[in-house]
Symmetry: C2
Subunit: 240 residues, 2 copies
DNA sequence: TGCGCTCGATTTGTATCCAATCTGGATTGA
DNA sequence: TCAATCCAGATTGGATACAAATCGAGCGCA
């Protein structure tokens, strides 16, 4: 669990306290994206400080950093609150993501290595496994399905963005990512194995296009892919 | 100029110390982009604190924020240094910028208002004025030319990005911008009125395409525009 | 009842203090 | 002469102290 505990493992690595603030940033970002710290809730400096056994100073610096990243919002004399993205924010962010990931896929079609292609192919097996678990209905299967899908999805997109070779593009996409609650897409897929299967097939087609070195096709497919995800999320927002 | 002095105007605005850190972030960012604080130089907390009449605490938080924005790099126990982007960073950032501004222009062709179009048209006069000053050679004219071009260029790109209507896109482009030294493009244009004139004409053609509501053409043109800027900058880096 | 006010508890914002770390130059030893 | 070492000053990192602001409960008053 992303529970408190001393920030890093407080040992091993050459310098440890160097990354105190960085560790806090990661820890908080994790707890936010997993929902452990809820969207819209206030983050009390003293509380975080005690949980991690540090003073408020590094906590404040971590919060400033999260503010700059757009993950939280600092209100003067009130504190930091986890940002609640509006429908508009989500729609717009997905559009930008589509454009950027599309371009990344286009570049990846030129620059990808065989090893990276293999990773892309391997994710397909994991996606199928996730679909299988989703079909078998139980509560445990559902959690399992979720974990598998996360793993495959993260690996898939990370691989493409890395393979494109443009680190600035990678950076930009990462910050865009962090601004959105992480489980958005999953929440739209969860509960309907058909959607999950459709999603898996979209991934295969994208990998195919990259494999064929057809950059423009890969771009189109990935843009349609994010467009689709965006539509599903909006649907889920309107009628649950 | 962007010299020290109490951070904001220390008056008027309802709350002032609220934005102490925010004010520092802006002030420092300004001083960095104008070159007042040099690229690659260290930023001493104590020095900044004294210049603005505050303690090191808010300065440190401002630096954390600049670190998160990618403007500055914090090295453990050494301090903050203004990031020196590598050639690769610049090339990659311009590529991303091209993709994003291209998309912004495409959207702007659909959503732009008449008032915004007027602003776009007005910039042309300013660009021409800048060219005129550049031709007349003197040292003062050169500074004047620079100031005019900055004004026109900022207004032009800001208008398009605003007109596109996607705030996440705007945000993303802004952070990308802040990571690069602001005078990069100008330094490539400076000293050659022909390049400056060519640059002005590129802007006109982009405005034309948006005016005709030809989004795809606007995208192509703006991508070519940033591509051209990037090439000029690389040239300037290699043989001065 | 309902509205506005005051006051105490909580929380944030800034300054200050001390320890840990780094830099650069002087010193020492081969 | 040169390299390794060590020390002093400078600088950062984190904790603590204190001031300013906010929130909310309880009170008074119409």
């Amino acid at each position: 669990m992303p529970k408190p505990g001393p920030v890093p493992a407080a040992s091993s690595s050459p310098r440890d306290q160097d990354r105190l603030v960085a560790g806090l940033v990661n820890a908080l970002q994790d707890r936010i994206s997993t929902g452990d710290i809820k969207i819209g809730s206030w983050i009390r400096q003293e509380r975080i400080a005690q949980e991690y056994g540090v003073s408020r100073t590094p906590v404040r610096e971590a919060l400033r950093q999260l503010d700059a990243l757009g993950v939280v919002e600092i209100v003067a004399n009130r504190g930091a609150r986890v940002k609640l993205p509006s429908i508009r924010d989500i729609t717009e962010a997905f559009e930008v993501r589509g454009v950027l990931e599309g371009h990344a896929a286009c570049l990846a079609a030129r620059n990808i290595t065989q090893a990276q292609l293999d990773v892309l192919r391997e994710t397909d097996g994991i996606f199928r496994e996730a679909v299988r678990h989703a079909r078998s209905g139980g509560e445990d299967s559902r959690a399992e399905s979720r974990a598998l899908w996360y793993r495959a999805n993260d690996a898939f997109h990370a691989t493409i963005v890395t393979a494109c070779g443009n680190r600035q593009l990678q950076l930009t996409l990462e910050t865009l990512h962090h601004r959105m609650p992480r489980n958005l897409t999953w929440s739209a897929l969860d509960g309907d194995p058909r959607l999950l299967e459709e999603n898996a097939e979209e991934h295969v087609r994208i990998a195919d296009a990259i494999d064929r070195r057809d950059g423009e096709r890969a771009r189109e497919l990935i843009m349609a892919h994010t467009q689709r995800a965006q539509e599903l999320i909006l649907l889920r927002f309107q009628e649950p």
